[in-house]
Amino acid sequence: MRTASSTAIALFTAFVVATPAAAQVTAERILHASGEPQNWLTYNGGYDSKRFSSLSQITPANIRDLELKWIVQDQVFGAWESNPLVVDGVMYLTERPNDVMAVDARTGRLFWIYHYTPAGDSHVCCGANNRGVAMLGDTLYMGTLDAHLVAIDAKTGHSIWNTEVADHKAGYSVTMAPLVIKDKVIVGTGGGEFGIRGFVAAYDSKTGKQVWRFNTIPGPGEPGHETWHGDDWKTGGASAWVTGSYDPQLNLLYWGVGNPGPDWNPDQRPGDNLYSDSVVALDPDTGKLKWHFQFTPNDPYDYDSVQIPVLADIDWQGKPVKAVLWANRNGYFYVLDRTNGKFLLGAPFVKVNWSKGLDQKGHPIMTPQPAGMPTWPGVQGGTNWYPPSYSPRTGLFYFSVWENYGSIFRREESQYVAGRTFPGGGQSVFAPVPSSPTIGVGRKGPVNNWTSDVGSGATIAIDPHTGKRVWTFPQYDVTDAGMLTTASDLLFTGGREGYFYALDAKTGKELWKTNLGGSIVMAPVTYQVGGKQYVSVISGHTLVTFGLRN
């Protein structure tokens, strides 16, 4: 009898627990995502993109009790850069090229898989990547390699609508996870290596109709157009391939903009080339520009400013300031006032020689290197698109850096042909020995024959008030891993070598590690189901989920 009744209670409890799972992801819920840390509702865990979770069941004291709970194997080869969402016990995860999976977040078993086949003549510079979905109501939204936006029923895994964002034949693609604000789905386009004219656009979440479009290169008559000559603006790149952030109080959307095109030949596009390599602040209802800040004018180094804008309210010289924290691919860390874009601080976080410093307004003082001489940081930058984290508990900003890594850039005249790469030259990574292996976009194999002589990685913590490093956790190979911090002052991250680390967020001390054997090229996420905290991370072709030993 006792057994039977406890079973009945257990079933009843399970039912009660499961009921809220039916609740829809309203715009209101996303606004207050930090209030439901059991879920991971947007690409960066919340509109402020701190990637900080208030979950604290896993702590420095019990971290050694972490154990493998489950694995999902990717069915497709290639770097797996997807960032999962977790909503009421279900994980939504994409894999190459444009599949979506709904996974039981407790067991790793699939509810459904959605396949989308992008057009065979899709163009992407750097792999058939997809970084994840957005969710509103019962609908998931995914950008595709052939530059469409699709809406998918989150319960059935079947499509609801499919909208063309741009012409993939002209080199446009969408690899980023969309961002939902109110009733709109917002995406930006990739294609900065193909002579596109980039943009960020908003779509009606119900119908897929475009509501507004912000061109990242101003057209004739628009402010900023004077930073381009002739017809250069038509093929000037300025893609927008990483998800932005949103401040509901200011009602401002922040988005990073990519490199100008052709990539390496600034002589072919004289001028500052706005809004390439900038952050733009937009009205999310209309797409109108409120302010912009350009990090690298007339960029010859491919220093996309596609980092995630991290919104933090911090004390600034005795006064509270609404800041945006930004570690840029160009090697400088910036603090801006996000109400108006005013430059507050800029400091190099790695070796920089393309510029000898920033002026009072944050503009770089350019010091181009002679032809054939290396430029630091190299083409992949001091950091890149890898999601950073800011912990309001420690007040520190965390991200992956590439150290002692330089490139030799070469300028050439490129002719624009629709759909073809528009490079304007080339680059090679500076190597200590001629023709020895160098670091590429992804890890080239299990043996590190390029060695730290060509560059190495690190996870670093910066104090936003000074721009100085508080601690450095060095890695031998470079790292594309993102960051996750928690309220128990843990920092989870990884790297190309396949180690998954838990560090002390205050000191950078390694508290726990495990070798997952495949590159970690995304950020971990954390969530809670059935009262238990989990941490998931993608390594190579597996998504691995850890939890505390029962």
């Binding site: 001629p434 023709s435 020895s436 024959n449 390029w450 060695t451 031998y476 180690y499």
Partner: protein, 260 residues
């Protein structure tokens, strides 16, 4: 007018380089020389005339990888010259009307492995090169090919597929400057007092893997290491002055033939 002047200048350079090379080739018997200027001139011709079908990396036609010297119908320089000039109607390759110096430049670019930054090199006779490798050169004292020789230095059984001609030539003539960073000798002292010496095979944040002088594969956790010393110089002697120019060309031809 300006364009015409530039072209004329380029042709003059090519011809100048060729005539210079022809003399030295004559002096070395059967060696075939490929000069840097010629390789670079070949790149320009290749990019404008060949890359459309063969691709920027030389692998645009199925079964052929020009940069890696993988061909379907040709093996010698004369074969390439004949194919380019005559075309292959069945495969859709048209005949090209290049001047002899231009043909030489394209061949130099292909033979260099598309190595724009590489030094000039010469290729001799592979069979004579093997004899030098196994005999006079003493290469097998440290290196190994297809199961023969020592494991002290890198196994060269597939070196011709991995490295470009100028890089291999540099290794023969200036081994210290050409040593790949991963191959550096390592001397480790562990916390428990063991001294381990060998050649580095792999390294990451937490561990290092090496092969010892007696052929043991060893993997060490950096937590267990007290001293970690990476040798800066190669143990390999330079063969500059020890082998004649023709012998180096023979040895290079042999090494390039090793493709696993």
């Amino acid at each position: 007018m300006r364009s015409a002047g530039v072209i004329a200048g380029a042709v003059f350079l090519v011809v100048g380089a060729i005539s210079g090379l022809a003399e030295s080739a004559f002096a070395q018997g059967s060696s075939q020389q490929y000069g840097t200027a010629n390789i670079q001139a070949g790149y320009r011709l290749y990019a404008s005339q060949c890359a459309l079908c063969h691709g920027g990396n030389g692998d645009g036609v199925a079964g052929i990888n020009l940069a890696r010297q993988q061909f379907r119908r040709v093996s010698t320089d004369a074969d390439i010259r004949r194919t380019v000039t005559g075309g292959i109607a069945a495969a859709g390759m048209p005949p090209f009307q290049f001047r002899p110096a231009e043909l030489d430049a394209i061949i130099a670019y292909i033979r260099s492995g598309f190595d724009l930054e590489g030094a000039s090199f010469a290729l001799g006779d592979g069979a004579r090169g093997k004899a030098i490798f196994d005999g006079k050169g003493g290469c097998t004292v440290c290196h190994r090919v297809h199961g023969n020789g020592s494991r002290n230095a890198p196994d060269l059984s597939d070196i011709g597929a991995l490295r470009k001609p100028s890089a291999i030539q540099r290794s023969i003539l200036q081994p210290a400057a050409a040593m790949q960073p991963i191959n550096r000798p390592v001397r480790v002292v562990t916390h428990d007092g063991r001294v381990i010496q060998g050649r580095r095979l792999n390294e990451d944040t937490e561990t290092v893997q090496l092969i010892t002088r007696d052929g043991m594969l060893v993997s060490l956790s950096k937590n267990d290491i007290q001293d970690f010393e990476l040798g800066k110089t190669s143990g390999m002697p330079s063969f500059a002055g020890k082998l004649s120019t023709a012998e180096v060309a023979d040895l290079l031809a042999y090494l390039l033939s090793l493709k696993g």
